[in-house]
C-alpha cells in the first residue's frame, strides 16, 4: 500500500503511431496541479506499441515525475480489453489515488470499462478538477443537464478517484528542458493482451479538421437556408483557418455530415473563436459550444427571444439580409 511519500496521481497518455497526442499535454497541466496539491508524484501511464525514448522524455520534461510505458505490438492501436487488463495490473500494484484521462473516444471507452474492474467511481467530461482542502478529495466539476448546471462530484471512499477531462479545457504543459523524472518500460503479461476485438483496417478522416479539436470554428445553422450557402461558408472558413461545424438542423438537412454536428446530440467544442452563421442558438446547441472563447453570431433576428446565442455571444451582427450572399461575400480581411 502507498504511504504518503508514494502517493500517485495518474494520467492516461494517448499516442497514435508512437507520437504522443496533445490531449496528454493538457492532462499534464491538470495532473501537475493536482499532484502538487496532494504532495504526490505525477505518473503518465501509456499503452503503446514500440515508442522512442525521446517521446517519453518529453513527458517528463512537461511535468511527469514518472512515465510508465506499457509496450507491446498489440497495444499499437487502442483496444479496450487489452488496455483495461494492462492498466488493472498496474493499478493493483501501485494503488494510485487519482486517475484522469482525456474525454476522447479512447478515454470515454476505456475509463468506464476500467472503473468497473477497479470497483470505483468515474466522472465524465470534467471541465474543472480541484482538491478539497479539508478532505483532500478530488472535486470533479462537470456541466450537467445540457450545461445549465455545473455539478461538482466526488468519490469519497473508492480508489482511484477517476475522471475524464474535456479536451481543450486547459492549456497544454510546456517543456522544461532537463527536468528529471523516471521512465519505466514494461512488457505486459500475455494474459493482458487477449482481446475479442480485432482491428482489420482503418479509413482516415477525409477532412483535415476535426471540430472537437479545432481552435476556430465556423458553424452553419438553418438560417443559411440552402445547401449552396454552405459552399461559400467553407470558403470563408478556409480563409479564416477554421473548421466547419453545423447545428443539428444543418446536419439533418444533409448540408454537413454527422461528425460536424455541434451540440447535445453531437460534439462539444471549445475553440478560441466561434462564428455562428444563421444559428438561432437552441439550448441544445449552446450546450455544445458555450465554453468557446469569443463567440460571433450573425443572424437575422435582432431580438433574442427564442434564441440565446445573440445574448451569450461576444459580438452579434443582426441583419435582415445576412444571408451568405450579402455577408459571407465579404470575408474578414486577414492581416
Amino acid at each position: 500500500m502507498n504511504t504518503c511519500e508514494h502517493r500517485e496521481v495518474w494520467i492516461l497518455g494517448e499516442q497514435r503511431g508512437g507520437r504522443i497526442l496533445s490531449v496528454t499535454h493538457e492532462l499534464l497541466t491538470r495532473g501537475r496541479a493536482l499532484a502538487d496539491l496532494r504532495a504526490a508524484s505525477l505518473c503518465v501511464v501509456l499503452c503503446t506499441g514500440p515508442i522512442d525514448e525521446a517521446c517519453l522524455r518529453d513527458l517528463v520534461e512537461r511535468g511527469a515525475d514518472r512515465v510508465v510505458a506499457i509496450e507491446a505490438i498489440e497495444l499499437m492501436h487502442f483496444d479496450c480489453e487489452r488496455s483495461a487488463a494492462c492498466l488493472m495490473e498496474l493499478i493493483k500494484e501501485r494503488d494510485p489515488e487519482i486517475f484522469i484521462a482525456a474525454a476522447t473516444t479512447t478515454g470515454r471507452t476505456l475509463m468506464p470499462y476500467l472503473a468497473v474492474r477497479a470497483n470505483t467511481g468515474l466522472t465524465a467530461d470534467c471541465t474543472g478538477l480541484e482538491i478539497d482542502s479539508q478532505t483532500g478529495l478530488l472535486l470533479q466539476t462537470r456541466p450537467a443537464i445540457g450545461g445549465n448546471v455545473m455539478a461538482t462530484i466526488k468519490t469519497p471512499s473508492h480508489r482511484p478517484q477517476m475522471a475524464t477531462v474535456r479536451p481543450r479545457s486547459t492549456a497544454p504543459a510546456t517543456r522544461v528542458s532537463g527536468r528529471p523524472g523516471v521512465i519505466e518500460r514494461r512488457t505486459p503479461t500475455e494474459n493482458a493482451l487477449k482481446s475479442r476485438v480485432r482491428r482489420t483496417g482503418f479509413i482516415p478522416r477525409e477532412e483535415s479538421h476535426d471540430i472537437a479539436e479545432a481552435d476556430r470554428i465556423v458553424c452553419v445553422g438553418r438560417g443559411v437556408r440552402k445547401a449552396d450557402g454552405v459552399g461559400r461558408i467553407r470558403v470563408f472558413a478556409e480563409r479564416l483557418g477554421a473548421a466547419v461545424g453545423g447545428t443539428r438542423d444543418a446536419v439533418d438537412r444533409g448540408w454537413l455530415s454527422y461528425p460536424h454536428q455541434i451540440g447535445l446530440s453531437g460534439k462539444t467544442v471549445s475553440p478560441s473563436l466561434y462564428v455562428a452563421l444563421g444559428v438561432s442558438g437552441a439550448i441544445q446547441h449552446i450546450a455544445g459550444m458555450q465554453t468557446a472563447g469569443t463567440i460571433v453570431a450573425v443572424n437575422t433576428d435582432p431580438t433574442p427571444g427564442s434564441s440565446d446565442l445573440p445574448i451569450s455571444a461576444s459580438l452579434a451582427i443582426c441583419s435582415k439580409r445576412c444571408r451568405p450572399s450579402s455577408k459571407r461575400s465579404r470575408p474578414v480581411p486577414r492581416r
Binding site: 472503473a115 467511481g121 465524465a124 445549465n148 479509413i203 478522416r205 443582426c318 474578414v332 480581411p333
Partner: protein, 274 residues
C-alpha cells in the same frame, strides 16, 4: 440473433429541476421521451433482426413510468421489453446503473449470437459511460461509436459465426473492427435513421405485457444499488450564467452591412483573432 437494447427515459424539456440535496434530477411532472440517441440503437437492432431473424428486447431502468418508453420501443418494433424498477435503484450513478442492467442481461441470457446495442450516451446525464461499464460487468468485449454494423460477417454463417464487423468513428477516421459475440456496442447517429412507431405497433404496445424486475428478481445486494451503492456523490450544484458582454451591430440593409463587416473585422483584430 438476440439484440438487447438498454434505453433511458429522459425529460423532454431542458427545464429540468434538480433536487438540491442529492443533486439528482427531479423527474416527476416532466414530459418524458426515449433518449433520442437510443432511437438509433433500437433502429440498428431492428435492422439486424429484420435481416436475420431473432428478437429485439428493450430494457429500461427507471421509475415505474419508464414503462411508457418501453411501450414506445415496442410500438417502433421491439419484440418485448423489461422494466427494471425498484425504489432501491433511485439515484444510481453509471456504476450502479450498469450493474443493474448487467444483472438483467444475465437474467435474459446471452448466447454467441447476442449483441447488446446502446445509444452513444443519454442527452440528460451526458456521460456515455453506461455502455462500456455494462460490458465490463458482463466481461464482454465493447466497441463504441459504431457507425455501421456489417451484416455479411454475421450473415455468412460459414465465414465467422458469432462475430460481427463494425465501423467505429474516432477522432481521425473510421476503424474497421471485428468483434466476437456476445458483445456490446454503442452506436452513433450515422448508423441508421430511426423509424416511427406504426399503428399496428402501437396496438401491440398497448397490449404488451411488460414485466418489472426489481432488486429481488435480479438478486442484487441492496448495498450496491441506487444512491447508497454509487461510488460517486454530487457535492454541489451551481448555475453558471454564461454572461458575455455582447456588442451588437444591427445592419438592416446592404449599405449598413459594409460597416458591420468592417466593425467585425475591427473586433476580431482587437482580440487578436485575425
Amino acid at each position: 440473433m438476440r439484440c438487447i437494447v438498454p434505453i433511458k427515459q429522459v425529460p423532454e424539456t431542458n427545464s429540468v429541476k434538480m433536487d438540491e440535496k442529492t443533486g439528482t434530477m427531479i423527474r416527476d411532472g416532466v414530459e418524458t421521451i426515449i433518449n433520442p440517441l437510443d432511437l438509433y440503437a433500437l433502429e440498428a437492432a431492428f435492422r439486424l433482426r429484420d435481416q436475420r431473424g431473432g428478437e429485439v428486447i428493450a430494457l429500461s431502468m427507471g421509475p415505474p413510468k419508464a414503462v411508457l418508453a418501453l411501450r414506445e420501443a415496442i410500438a417502433m418494433g421491439a419484440d418485448r421489453a423489461v422494466l427494471l424498477s425498484d425504489k432501491a435503484f433511485a439515484g444510481a450513478d453509471t456504476w450502479a446503473t450498469s450493474r443493474v442492467l448487467a444483472a438483467a442481461v444475465q437474467k435474459l441470457g446471452l448466447d454467441e449470437n447476442a449483441l447488446i446495442i446502446c445509444g452513444e450516451r443519454a442527452v440528460d446525464g451526458d456521460t456515455g459511460q453506461t455502455g462500456p461499464a455494462l460490458a465490463s460487468w458482463l466481461d464482454l468485449p465493447v466497441v463504441t461509436y459504431v457507425s455501421r454494423i456489417d451484416d455479411t460477417a454475421v450473415d455468412m454463417a460459414g465465414s465467422n459465426p458469432g462475430s460481427c464487423r463494425l465501423k467505429r468513428l474516432t477522432e481521425d477516421g473510421y476503424e474497421l473492427l471485428e468483434m466476437q459475440l456476445p458483445g456490446v456496442i454503442t452506436v452513433i447517429k450515422e448508423i441508421a435513421s430511426p423509424r416511427l412507431p406504426t399503428l399496428r405497433g402501437k396496438q401491440r404496445a398497448r397490449a404488451a405485457e411488460i414485466p418489472c424486475w426489481g432488486r429481488i428478481e435480479l438478486a442484487l445486494p441492496a448495498e450496491c444499488l441506487g444512491l447508497a451503492g454509487s461510488p460517486t456523490r454530487v457535492v454541489s450544484l451551481a448555475r453558471p450564467r454564461v454572461s458575455r458582454t455582447c456588442e451588437k451591430i444591427v445592419a438592416p440593409d446592404a449599405a449598413t452591412m459594409r460597416g458591420a463587416a468592417a466593425k467585425l473585422a475591427e473586433f476580431l483584430n482587437r482580440r487578436h483573432l485575425v
